[in-house]
């Protein structure tokens, strides 16, 4: 448990420092708002419409693919930890296991590529 106490100390330090900076600059700086100053910056033009518009579905696609492949990394890490060890599983079994896993993933990867998920233009 001890390292986690140290982690909490660091977290506390970072949060306090961050909050102090925001609060201090809020009270130290001047505050003279005008209508033009508060306007969202759009290269000097009056902003057209809201900024919270729809954006490309590609970004969602990237997020979904990220979850898929990141989980793959998460599955590979425990495998990597025991691969060199002297546990009950033999190295040969672990190797075949990983090759099967990679093969299944590779089929999915090729499918995603052929469906054009990696096209950004």
């Amino acid at each position: 448990m001890q390292p986690y106490i140290q982690f909490l100390m660091l977290l506390g330090m970072a949060v306090i420092a961050g909050t102090t900076m925001i609060v201090a600059s809020h009270f130290l700086g001047p505050r003279r708002p005008t209508e033009v100053k508060e306007r969202p910056y759009e290269s000097g033009m009056p902003p057209l419409g809201s900024a919270h518009e729809r954006f490309s579905v590609k970004f969602y696609l990237v997020a979904v693919l990220f979850i898929l492949f990141d989980i793959e990394t998460v599955f590979l890490i425990p495998w990597a930890v025991i691969f060199m060890g002297t546990g009950t599983l033999t190295t040969g079994f672990l190797l075949v296991e990983m090759l099967v896993f990679m093969l299944i993933l590779f089929v999915g990867y090729v499918y995603v590529w052929k469906r054009g998920a990696f096209q950004w233009d």
């Binding site: 986690y4 330090m13 600059s25 306007r39 518009e53 590609k58 997020a63 590979l76």
Partner: protein, 387 residues
Amino acid sequence: MTFFLVSSAIKVFVVFNLIMVGVALLTLLERRVCAWMQDRLGPNRVGPQGILQPAADGLKNFLKEETSPAMADKTLFTLAPIVSFVPALLTFGVIPFAAPLPTRWGVVPMVVADLPVGFLYILAISSLGVYGIVLAGWSSNNKYALLGGLRASAQMISYEIALGMSTVAVILLAGNVTLSQVIAQQQQALWFVIPLTVAFLIFFISALAETNRLPFDLPEAEGELIAGYHTEYSSMKFSMFYIAEYSNMVTASALMATLFFGGWDIPFTSWDSTGDPSLVKTLATLAVFGLKTFVFLFTYIWVRWTLPRFRYDQLMALGWKVLLPLVLLYITLLAVAIWFVRIRLGWDYGPGMAWVLGGLNLVLLIVLAWWLDRGRIVSGSVPQEAA
């Protein structure tokens, strides 16, 4: 217990402030190195060689007026810099930076928190930084900020896969995710950069993209997006994004030194890792660790002022179509090679196995350079015979 709490509190305080000072000096270093590369002088007026310039900048940022755009989500707008700042400073916590220090009350390990989850902690916490950037982009009610935030998040999560995968190779050899164990394993045989050269290159490229540095600084491509996600930020809130970016760079450099270059290990001697801990050893290893980190930080700056920016589709294509299949193939090859050396040749992990893997990496590097180049850069720069 009292000793533990006091020593931890001192470590946390010192490390936190060292990172902050390091970040401040890094901003100065960046400007001076940039000036040097462009044959200018750079900031050299405030203090000797401009050493007090970061302090002046910090003070200025505290005293500047805050603006908050109309229709912005005030809560998220204020929260976003903190969400970006906190994880950036937390990630350094698990990196061991020197040999253990002996004191009158006991030996203090020179790492803020040697978590058993080690590397996974870094992956987890550094991903949280994405939230700060997305929230900043979304809450600003500015089109440039929104686009910058979206681009940043897409880029960071894309390269995180390659980053995570390339460290699977490190874990494969180290057999542990705790960073102090990774260093111990490298002290036994060779630094992992020799048996894992390709993984190191992939890690380096992904780390550039993760920290939004050129040639991957699409999130704040000033020619198209003004300043990206922090367009609407001013005063200290802006500064906090800046600090977060630079402390991410420090962490990434320290991580590269730890995972691939032996951390605080002094090369060609086992004096630092064997025998009783002493103050001299701690200071020497701290200096070596600092030097290794500095080399990578300098490379970051060097790359920034040398290479032009990628186009967005090139950036995503590099991440998904080149680095991802490459690193998957690499892990497979590496696993097969380790299986061959361990089972067929019967060697355990040691210098012999490391050199065999190093040879494999050299071959892979040559094949990669030849395939990635395909007659464009290396042979393309040689004058061709007129046909």
